[in-house]
């Protein structure tokens, strides 16, 4: 395969051939992470590194603990009283799971996008303004600038700039999801967690959101859960395959996305991606 002069900075093709799309610098270092709900272990001893500026896709059958894994990374599991998380997640030389972690600050640095778009029942502008105010940005002018920038970044500005004061719930599903992404990136996080961000959207909106996610690569470290293997192949640099044995989720294989899909090392992975299982 020859390099085209105007090819985007990151393509999957380059991973195999030249240098990796991004330096494999661990941004999050996860060691022996286990999640229990009450007595039921749903995720057992997961260890992997999430690389800076890359998109890591989490794939695997329903119920294998992908959402649980994701919510330990920004401590959303704290809100579930019967959830117990053990192991360590190193981020910036600190263990996220330590009790003294400032959760509100952590969530500013690690944003999250949900499966169902969840803009607040407020105006478009207020949706973006609330998190800014909450994180101490007092100047109205600065907020306005940041709001415009975030909306431009997600390609929503020209669609909504004339109705910033109308309800965000009046937007289409795809627009709502892009607004949620704007709401997350307006806080300038380093990492974005996305839990099946396209699965509630129609194919066209889904494609637009997917393009947006690809454009985030390099600027943000993205971890995306998806059931759509083709999508994982299209967007991700790295992929992690989770599987469930006796209701306990395990990480089976982790590697560069194309390698994982082309030459899976584990037979479960091979069976899952060929559609034979899961």
């Amino acid at each position: 395969m020859t390099m085209q002069p105007h090819s985007p900075t990151f393509t999957l093709g380059q991973i195999e051939q030249g240098p990796p799309c991004c330096e494999p610098i661990p941004h999050l270092s996860i060691k022996g992470l286990s999640v229990r709900y009450g007595a039921q272990t749903v995720l057992d001893e997961v260890s992997l590194d999430i690389y800076k500026g890359c998109i890591t896709a989490l794939i695997g059958p329903s119920g294998c603990g992908k959402t649980s894994f994701l919510s330990t990374l920004n401590k959303m599991t704290d809100a579930i009283s019967h959830a117990h998380v053990t192991g360590s997640i190193h981020f910036d030389n600190n263990n996220i799971l330590d009790a003294q972690t400032n959760v509100l600050q952590l969530r500013r640095r690690i944003g999250m996008i949900f499966q169902k778009p969840n803009p607040f029942p407020l105006s478009i502008e207020r949706n973006l303004e609330l998190p800014l105010k909450e994180h101490g940005i007092k100047s109205r002018k600065v907020r306005k600038e940041k709001i415009e920038k975030a909306l431009r970044d997600v390609g929503l500005w020209h669609e909504v700039s004339d109705r910033l004061n109308t309800s965000a719930l009046a937007l289409s599903g795809g627009q709502q999801q892009r607004l949620c992404i704007a709401r997350a990136i307006i806080l300038e996080p380093e990492i974005l967690l996305m839990d099946e961000p396209c699965s509630a959207l129609d194919p066209i909106s889904s494609g637009i959101v997917e393009d947006l996610i690809i454009r985030l690569r390099g600027d943000y470290t993205v971890i995306i859960v998806t059931h759509n293997l083709a999508q994982a192949k299209r967007v991700a640099n790295y992929a992690a395959f989770f599987w469930m044995k006796e209701r306990v989720g395990k990480l089976i294989e982790f590697g560069q996305c194309q390698h994982l899909f082309d030459t899976p090392q584990h037979e479960l992975t091979a069976a899952y991606i060929s559609g034979a299982k899961g």
């Binding site: 920004n74 959303m76 809100a79 009283s81 959760v103 509100l104 600050q105 952590l106 969530r107 500013r108 944003g111 999250m112 949900f114 169902k116 969840n118 803009p119 607040f120 029942p121 407020l122 105006s123 502008e125 207020r126 303004e129 609330l130 998190p131 909450e134 994180h135 109205r140 004061n165 109308t166 309800s167 949620c180 709401r183 997350a184 806080l187």
Partner: protein
Amino acid sequence: MPSRSASNIRLADQCFSVLIMACAAFVTITLIWVLGDIVIKGASHITWSFITSEPSDAGRSGGIGTILVSTLLILCVALGAAIPIGLGVAVWLSEFTVQHSRFSNTVGTTLDVLAGIPSIVYGLFGNAFFSLYLGLGFSILSGGLTLACMILPIFIRTCESGLSAVNNDWRKGAQALGMSRSAAIWHVLLPAAAPAIIAGLILGIGRATAETAALIFTSGYVDRMPGSLLDSGRALAVHIYDLSMNVTGGDNAAYASAFVLITLIILLNTTAQSLIDRWFSQRIYAS
């Protein structure tokens, strides 16, 4: 036979529809009758001086000016106490206690029982607690606080169920953005629950404005202009009760007062609704 059973079903259907329509008609006619009675017998006595002047001759003549003032003061005290306490308790119940735990179920049942207690019992309680124990005597303050106790259970319940019905995705969204719990409640959940809060408030205003029994022993009968919240003041509903039960020849004034009372309730509800609507839409849309 299929055709026969089909016609039987049709007959049953028709009977049922007729029954339902009869019920609906009964309710509507009763309402129109009561309202019509009051409007016909009351509206003709309404004059500006009736609304503004003091009652005289035990209410047979004169007006209801001082009574309107007392009524509004009592209502202000009641709402001023009930709204912050009610919202606080509702937020605490829906956001800070475990849903469906034994504790929250107990509190819920208690509130339901309290909401069903006859208002005269609240009156006796208010008399014993606010008037005598706290030494507030027969006053607008004790009357208003008694009314607050009376409307609190139902107000808390409506607000609480409104808050619990708020989409959980918004809670998670606020959490994931690193918003504090109080900010999420104040900026997202309460505006989202606004319709339920308005409904609870309208119920409360309706009950409080129309209340007689709870006020007789707490805010009293005095029909002079109250000088302060510690003065006794006669509420409109108490006035109507007094005119129709104790004052011979007070019927005209009673009808006129009832007409004013109904107008007042309608007016208060629409103002409350539009005020809150505006307040919340400011929170929703303004930047």
